[in-house]
Symmetry: C2
Subunit: 240 residues, 2 copies
């Protein structure tokens, strides 16, 4: 399996510009052989403005950007893509648009069969996993399913946030929400990617990159912490 994925927790890190904190990871990931990247702006309402933002940044790294929303036939655009980048925003809006445009199966096929490199950020990371059951977003639209593209056999919680011991707000903490998910039957494990971290997947090897630890939640087990550089390849086997 020649799958190649870069699953980023967040597009912007506090104090930095769009994709600035991970720009060297992006350059390493797409490398010199990729010249054009197909961008998917579906997670934000203003697709033109979002495409401009992505195009500006990726062109500064040496890549041309086509946006799937500018293509006459989005499926055909995916079929021809050298590389795919799905940006962040609202995960429900993004997944619904992927289904509405028949792209879920097509993207999976390109990644698994043709080795097309896939980069996701935030919502674009959520939809790459088993399901969007562990997104943080507000369910502003109703997608036909919560199933994601399924490029990895586990879920991710991007923008993972530790609970604030001084908070007086009584909403559930992020850890409590993920624990509620694991009260449901047959739920896969959830990798909490703190802002600043990302997961690189190359075939059956998974490596945590970035500057922050990740927290892993497995149903019926204690949560565990993993440093940047950790080998998380065990997450890629189906029986976790």
């Amino acid at each position: 399996m020649n799958r190649r994925l870069l699953l980023v927790s967040n597009s912007t890190l506090y104090g930095g510009g769009y994709l600035q904190h991970c720009q060297h990871n992006i350059s390493d990931f797409f490398g010199k052989q990729v010249t054009r990247i197909l961008f998917v702006p579906y997670a934000l309402h203003d697709r033109d403005a979002y495409t401009r933002t992505a195009r500006d940044k990726l062109s500064s790294l040496g890549y041309e950007v086509d946006s799937v929303h500018e293509a006459a036939d989005p499926v055909e655009a995916v079929r021809k893509a050298e590389a795919i980048f799905i940006g962040g925003g609202n995960t429900f809006r993004l997944l619904k648009a992927l289904y509405d445009n028949n792209l879920v199966t097509e993207i999976k096929k390109r990644v698994f069969q043709d080795g097309v490199p896939y980069m996701g950020s935030s919502a674009g990371t959520n939809v790459a996993t088993v399901s969007i059951n562990t997104t943080n977003d507000m369910p502003i639209v109703y997608p036909p399913s919560f199933s994601g593209i399924g490029l990895v056999p586990f879920n991710i919680n991007p923008h993972y946030l530790d609970s604030d011991p001084n908070s007086r707000h009584m909403g559930e903490t992020r850890e409590q929400r993920i624990t509620q998910y694991h009260e449901e039957l047959n739920t896969p494990c959830v990798l909490g990617l703190r802002e600043g971290s990302m997961l690189l997947v190359e075939g059956n090897k998974a490596t945590l990159l970035g500057t922050t630890n990740a927290r892993l939640f497995q149903r019926g087990k204690e949560a565990s912490e993993h440093d940047p550089g950790s080998d998380l390849s065990f997450l890629l086997t189906d029986a976790q």
Copy 2:
């Protein structure tokens, strides 16, 4: 229309016990004529434990509690209910269970046709509105629809939270999330109920109760602040 609703933002306020901050509102709302309340514990995994918590609190206020999950026939339990209370937890889990048990239409009928008083807290408030599109919860299960019971013609965001100017976290603020909802077509207005506030609806009259302001979001308009005691009856007309 003799609908009577008490829609509470949060079950527990910082430093207090379960339903403590709104216990006098509960007593006023159900009054002396109600003797038994049908409790719906579907939003939490452990329904027995949750029922004990609700039973303990409501019996201290003088009400007997039956739980719908203990009934042989949940629909029949709703048909016979004197009063209904749906508790908080995970909104997706709650709404799915309401659909799975065929209770959505039945509860609506009892409230609108028979004037059965309905109290909701947090997730139980979300499901009483047009839709759960503005819940804060993690989508841990996939309900057959996001449409709620429709006891009011607008949406509520419970546990409404102002943004923290000192935060370095880059996830969307609550206001940004609701703004994203209003980027979608034909979306109703959203009443942000801060912790400590609740909405009392009696027929076509709506009054904000509790100790905190509410923030109202209307599509294409500036958000507005409303003090406790405000008359919000204008929200009950369909053309907002």
